[in-house]
């Protein structure tokens, strides 16, 4: 997908999404230069001040966004008839290809002009056509017009957007629009607007669509490019701490060019994200000129001087690509290079699923005695540290220590059940990954901003909680180690200690679960086969399957008559049932019972798979009891006796079951 670098969408916002996602070609307007760098909240003023008549570029991303918008408008009338009637504050106006003869019933046609029958409270028509200009004042009219436009639908949408650069203002009025553009789900609707019920509903619908567009955009990006903003963020945070006023400072200032962070953690506009670019920085070193830097998946490099967000140019690379920011700065600023080594540092290990980033921090308050302070931190942190590494200033080896400065931000439950805070997640350092999901629509309780984070501590570090000196967030208590013993007793559901970062396959898992739920045998088998390709032995993946409702479906499939579905389901279950929490759920949901029944099947593969699963699941008493209850032991013993594959396949679980069987005196 070749994307030309076009002019950015200067400060013009049609919803956050469109404003950030569409690439447009600007005709140079006198106000254009003012517009560069205008922030979101000022967008409205800009629009009314100028009459920018840019055009939308023909890019695949733009095209797919346009189609989404078209779909939205097309169905608006039928899906939201009430809101469709709501009259816009101002008409949307654009140059149309429609003529009077295209209009049929519901319209007054006189010569070449058309007026709609539908009128507002003052008797003015909601749609007027004086070729080539058309004025529309409600979604019902927009919807109708789109239908009339037939195969020129997409052109109409394009023309409408090009003609109305800030349609939200025209539709909702300035106050609601600014609320919308501030973004996030916790938008407050002013009292005066609240009275108009349909207006508010319209607002919410538009917000919803906005989010969907954004998600779609980011999803497409994530399919093409895998971006790793977390590492970059960490580095930037670190560097920011190196800036200060005094003599000891290593850098003068560090700032992003954009305040807005997309839900995938990147700040670069989507059409730059597809190039692998994550964000842009402006860094002032102490001893040399200001550096304009691009952080990308390939590393960090100097760009052509991007100062503010939505620049139209300057994306080109003007230097070598360095491994990371620190390396770049070291090579460009001697002062930095000199002083960075003098800092006491601890290196934080980032989640194993992401690029490991060397991170250095200065513990300004505890300078000179970092060792002791770290130890103190550790004591505060948690009773059972999984890994103790003494910080080592001298060598540059990677050591793992909690850094007191790391902000410990709140958690966002990754799944659709946005309300519940899952006990199995733990808070940790800020990360992002590809975590934007369709389910997190406007109802999601998070702002689509930097605060959005999920724990990212890898298993080894899990016990080392991060505590800031400011005491930002309380430390979560981890429970004791989860090494799985054969004889594990039933324990109350406890927090997962290992990496609870969302797997990169989260999107895929969600899609596949959808097919599992809503398809026939053919679709189900395809979905099951696709699922087998996931990282089923990874805990995050396993839990994601559970959280997205996949586990339930897998268990339900066991009760169907469809052999292939059962085989597929068991194949997946045997992998994910290595996870203790999954095992519990399987038993709780009656899955074990179903599996035991399958032992009766005449299909050899099914029998073997069922037995294997029982071996996995039956690692705790309650499960064993269940197996016993349903006559499983007898069946398993029969299998063992009759099948020479038995011993090797089914492991110790079966042996234990046998023991139980014998304990019971042969009467399960």
């Amino acid at each position: 997908m070749a994307e030309e670098v076009a002019c950015g969408f200067h400060g013009n916002r049609w919803l956050q999404t469109v404003g950030k996602s569409f690439k447009t070609v600007e005709k140079l307007e006198p106000h254009a230069s003012d517009a560069m760098g205008v922030s979101l909240t000022k967008a409205v003023q800009w629009t009314s001040a100028s009459s920018g008549t840019g055009k939308l570029e023909f890019t695949p991303m733009n095209e797919s966004l346009l189609k989404e918008i078209l779909r939205f408008v097309e169905q608006f009338n039928s899906q939201h008839p009430q809101e469709a009637k709501h009259v816009f504050e101002e008409p949307l106006q654009w140059s149309t290809t429609l003529v009077a003869s295209d209009f049929k019933t519901d319209y007054d046609i006189s010569d070449s002009d058309v007026q709609s029958h539908e009128k507002d409270s003052e008797g003015h028509p909601l749609l007027q056509l004086s070729p080539p200009n058309v004025y529309a004042r409600s979604f019902s009219q927009l919807s109708k017009l789109i239908h009339l436009a037939d195969d020129k639908k997409l052109e109409e949408v394009r023309a409408c957007l090009e003609g109305n650069r800030d349609p939200m203002v025209k539709i909702l009025g300035p106050s609601l629009t600014s609320v919308l553009q501030k973004g996030g789900a916790h938008t407050e609707v002013k009292e005066e607007d609240q009275g108009e019920d349909s207006k508010v509903k319209l607002f919410l619908l538009l917000q919803n669509m906005d989010n969907q567009l954004l998600n779609k955009c980011l999803q497409e990006i994530s399919e093409q490019v895998s971006l790793d903003p977390a590492a970059v963020k960490n580095e930037v945070e670190l560097l920011k701490q190196l800036c200060s006023e005094g003599e000891k400072r290593v850098l003068k200032s560090v700032r992003y060019t954009s305040d807005y962070e997309f839900s995938n953690g990147c700040r670069a506009p989507p059409w730059r994200q597809v190039h692998g670019e994550i964000c842009y920085l402006v860094i002032e070193p102490c001893d040399t000129e200001t550096l304009y830097i691009t952080c990308s998946t390939a590393g960090a490099f100097l760009n052509g001087g991007i100062k503010q967000e939505q620049e139209e140019s300057g994306y080109e690379r003007t230097s070598d690509t360095y491994k990371d920011l620190v390396t770049l700065l070291t090579s460009r600023s001697p002062h930095f290079a000199e002083n960075i080594n003098k800092q006491d540092f601890a290196v934080q290990e980032l989640p194993s699923t992401q690029k490991i980033q060397h991170v250095e921090s200065v513990d300004a308050e505890e300078q000179g005695q970092p060792q002791r302070s770290y130890e103190q931190q550790e004591k505060n942190v948690h009773e059972k540290a999984r890994q103790q590494h003494a910080p080592n200033k001298a060598d540059g080896e990677k050591k793992y220590e909690p850094c007191p400065r790391w902000k410990n931000l709140g958690l966002m439950p990754p799944c659709g059940k946005a309300e519940e805070k899952k006990p199995s997640k733990s808070s940790g350092e800020e990360t992002s990954g590809e975590i934007q999901k369709k389910k997190l629509g406007p109802a999601a309780k998070s702002k689509m901003k930097a605060e959005f984070s999920v724990s990212s501590l890898p298993g080894r570090l899990s016990s080392q909680k991060i505590k800031t000196s400011a005491g930002a967030v309380p430390v979560d208590a981890f429970s004791e180690s989860s090494s799985e013993s054969e004889e594990e007793e039933e324990q109350p559901e406890r927090r997962a200690e290992s990496n609870t970062d969302l797997p990169s396959e989260y999107w895929e898992i969600q899609k596949v679960v959808k097919f599992l739920k809503g398809g026939d045998q053919t679709a189900t088998v395809l979905a099951l086969c696709a699922m087998m390709d996931f990282n089923l032995m990874q805990e995050t993946c396993q839990l994601a399957i559970r959280d997205l409702g996949g586990l339930e479906v897998l268990i339900n499939l066991l009760d169907t008559d469809e052999v292939k579905c059962k085989i597929g389901s068991l194949k997946i279950l045997r992998k994910i049932s290595h996870n203790v929490q999954i095992r519990r759920v399987i038993v709780d949901m009656g899955g074990l019972q179903s599996i035991v029944k399958i032992l009766d099947s005449s299909v050899k593969d099914l029998k073997a798979l069922a037995a294997e699963n029982i071996a996995n699941v039956a690692r705790f008493h309650r499960a064993r009891r269940t197996v016993r209850q349903y006559g499983g032991i007898k069946k398993l013993v029969k299998l063992l006796e009759g099948d020479c594959r038995g011993g090797s396949l089914w492991g110790s679980g079966i042996v234990e079951l046998q023991q139980e069987y014998q304990e019971q005196g042969g009467h399960p």
């Binding site: 895929e508 899609k511 097919f515 045998q521 053919t522 679709a523 696709a530 052999v563």
Partner: protein
């Protein structure tokens, strides 16, 4: 009576026999036995007796109300699909067409006796390799030795339940198609060649009938065994 000379089978003694037998409304036992003997050497998976049963079954099926002229040539598409539906529980039109197409090797629009027997050999008892080839032929709607997106989409179209809330009901379908292609298109050319298909199925047997059920399940096979092989023997 005008007899068409089928290209391939014009010459062999078996085909002469076949033609004769299909022209005759009543076949005598001897004839059937001879035919079965010959065929059993050429067709895998069935022994002589079973082939006899299949011949008898074929004639019975042909004997159903059909135009005499057409009956001479074999089972036509409609008749064959009825069989697929009644005997093997198939319901998908597209798939059934594909099965017919695959059975009808000489593409004359009829399933002859030989095609019937050879087809069933794979259908009921084929090895994995034979079945892979069979299924591929069923799914390759236009016969160009590739299963492409354009062929997959109609095949999977009815497999997904349309969500009423979905704005684009085809979105799910497209996703499913993409996921499948990703899984099976080993050489990444956007379509599934025979090699792609074979490799994928050998890795994961569940993918054999990836685009629709075109083989009978165990129950149908057992029922067929019972009804055709055993019952015929008893007569």
């Amino acid at each position: 009576m005008v007899t068409e000379c089928k290209q391939r089978s014009c010459d062999s003694p078996v085909s002469q026999l076949l033609k004769k037998t299909s022209e005759m409304s009543a076949m005598n036992r001897k004839l059937i036995q001879t035919l079965a003997e010959t065929l059993s050497k050429e067709v895998e998976h069935f022994n002589k007796t079973e082939i006899e049963c299949l011949i008898r079954e074929f004639n019975e099926l042909l004997g159903e109300p059909a135009l005499p002229v057409r009956a001479a040539h074999g089972l036509d598409r409609g008749a064959f699909r009825t069989i697929l539906h009644n005997m093997f529980g198939m319901t998908d039109d597209m798939i059934m067409d594909g099965v017919f197409r695959t059975f009808d090797k000489d593409k004359d629009g009829f399933i002859s006796m030989r095609e019937w027997i050879e087809g069933l050999s794979v259908f009921l008892r084929g090895t994995l390799g034979e079945k892979i080839k069979y299924c591929f032929d069923v799914y390759d709607l236009n016969g160009d030795r590739y299963i492409s997106r354009e062929e997959i989409i109609p095949m999977l179209k009815n497999s997904l339940i349309r969500q009423p809330t979905e704005e684009d009901p085809d979105e799910g379908l497209k996703d499913l198609v993409e996921i499948t292609l990703k899984k099976m298109d080993q050489d990444h050319d956007g379509r599934i060649s025979f090699e792609d298909f074979e490799k994928a199925v050998r890795e994961e047997n569940l993918l054999l009938e990836a685009f629709g059920t075109c083989l009978p399940d165990m129950t149908s096979i057992e029922a067929f065994d019972q009804n055709v092989f055993q019952k015929q023997l008893e007569q």
